[in-house]
Assembly symmetry: C2
């Protein structure tokens, strides 16, 4: 059964999800990989809907087939049925029930079209669906955050090639989000300003790390990027939660996201990457100190012993170089 | 030039080391990989010493060739020649000079013998050399920590196959170590006890996560392991710094490390892994709240978007299962 255990040494929870692994031998301990490049065996392709758990949501505009489809993850990290009782065992170790949710958002019926090659209105549909699922999951008062993310490519953790996003609702605020909120709150207490709004303004002023921008969003490689080509997309106007973004804002984001991912995909020969949406946890949606944003983290190099031991990244490419390279990519017409 | 930049959003430093990458195109942004499986081109093999920067240290017992050899890393993340001045630019971004050190410890003259297949006295020599380099580097008052680590296998970040360790001295206390020390200090303030000593005792009492032990050390899969088969090795007696370990303690560690790595290597078909030594930073070596220890982190699954977004791990194998599996491995006679 999924559950969480508390790691006292770093003051954070770890999710245990034994159903996600297979029998105990060698690589079979890894996440289940079932990459079916053949269309007719892909559970995310139209016609194979019976291979997935029951549909949670879909958009079927104009009576056509579905254009996006949301289903429960077949190997959920956390489950709605679990409780969230905290238990301390006889040795002082603390665990809690694996209460949460784990959904898959299938980006489009097309098996082999990567997100940036979709039309803008399809990308907008994906973002709108992600937001709608985010808001629906957050209606469950047991969930403290919903992590919205996308893995592109095997080294980024994709187990199924058909393009998709995932949402995981967690019963606690995860360690990194807590840290980011703590630092942003501390900055706000000290300066009266939102750290992320300040950063967006800095990057617009400095220009050298800018990748692209439009009326609603800016995209840049952050000053202290942890990996080569790390790119952030920030709203220009303060807004704490992704759940609050207005429809025209999501349309603007779709357009900018397409632009950024096209540059990355065309310029770097389709690199693997992770994409996450960082947003305020429950109860902080109305606070002035956190700005929701996207982080795109290409997987061109992997953390090794130094990073594991120190928690400190070594980045071999300056964000000024990364940004210049991405700015200068010749985009397909 | 290597330098560090401060990431205000997580309150931690990132190392920028542009010399470690090559020209800006595609995979060439990744760490330099020069895996020369052929003995005659390997810069770490005897006879090829001229291919490395000048030797820092070596042991040549009984007038034979070297048995361990320490050299500067040819692509250093940080360098002794850099200063550590902190500078705030006109936009409020903070950076500092890339002052530090980056050394490579070649484990043995043998290109193709993995650490657990070395005799115990050779493993002891490796640990003694690592400790001696640790203590020597810490004599430089500019360095706050020395991260001692080993990458085994390509997915763990190895760029040269010949078995080796690395040491990186940093001019600041890295984020994860600061967090671990903070949590341990807080635990000590609250309970008057060392958190790690308490954990070692808990595991000895509970038994179900124990892998192996000897007079001086215990090896177990921690209660809230972040990855499958994560294994910690802790001294039985309190000691804050790896630099303080007595010679007979290092001998006992060599024997236990061989045991643990044999189980891992034989049981899981030679998995890639990272190994790190966590130890008290400068100034905390005499404090009672931190116990130096080894962490072995097999790379059987990779962090993906959820982990990047949340900082929270999803582990698919319970540490009780991992430990049982490792305990039951049939060791070669």
């Amino acid at each position: 059964m999924p559950h969480l255990r508390f790691d006292e040494t770093v003051s954070g929870w770890v999710i245990f999800s034994p159903s996600r692994s297979r029998r105990p031998h060698s690589r079979s301990f890894a996440d289940p990989v079932a990459d079916t490049t053949e269309h007719n065996h892909c559970p995310f392709c139209p016609g194979n809907e019976k291979l997935t758990p029951p549909e949670i949501y879909a958009e079927r505009p104009n009576g056509r087939g579905w254009q996006v489809r949301v289903i429960p993850n077949k190997f959920p990290a956390l489950r709605i049925e679990e409780d969230r009782q905290r238990v301390v065992d006889g040795f002082g170790n603390q665990w809690m029930g694996g209460c949460g949710a784990h959904e898959v958002l299938i980006e489009s019926p097309e098996h082999s079209v990567f997100l940036p090659y979709q039309p803008i209105d399809q990308i907008e549909r994906v973002l709108r669906t992600a937001q709608s699922r985010y808001n629906d999951l957050m209606r469950d008062q047991r969930f403290q955050t919903v992590i919205v993310f996308k893995n592109h490519g095997v080294s980024a953790g994709t187990s199924l090639a058909h393009p998709h996003w995932q949402l995981i609702a967690t019963p606690v605020v995860p360690r990194l989000l807590r840290l980011k909120h703590f630092e942003a709150a501390e900055y706000f207490d000290r300066t009266g300003r939102c750290l992320y709004c300040v950063i967006a303004k800095r990057e617009l002023d400095a220009q050298e790390r800018m990748v692209t921008a439009n009326k609603e969003f800016v995209a840049f490689c952050p000053y202290a990027a942890h990996v080569p080509f790390e790119t952030w997309i920030l709203p220009r106007k303060h807004q704490s939660s992704f759940g609050q973004a207005e429809p025209d804002k999501l349309a603007a984001l779709a357009s900018l996201l397409k632009d950024v991912l096209l540059r990355l995909t065309a310029g770097l020969d389709n690199p693997d990457y992770n994409l996450t949406i960082d947003t305020a946890p429950r109860g902080d949606e109305e606070k002035s100190y956190f700005l929701w944003h996207l982080r795109i983290l290409p997987r061109l190099s992997e953390p090794a012993g130094f990073e594991m031991g120190s928690g400190m990244s070594i980045n071999t490419v300056l964000p000024e170089e990364s940004a210049k390279f991405l700015r200068e990519v010749d985009l397909p017409a």
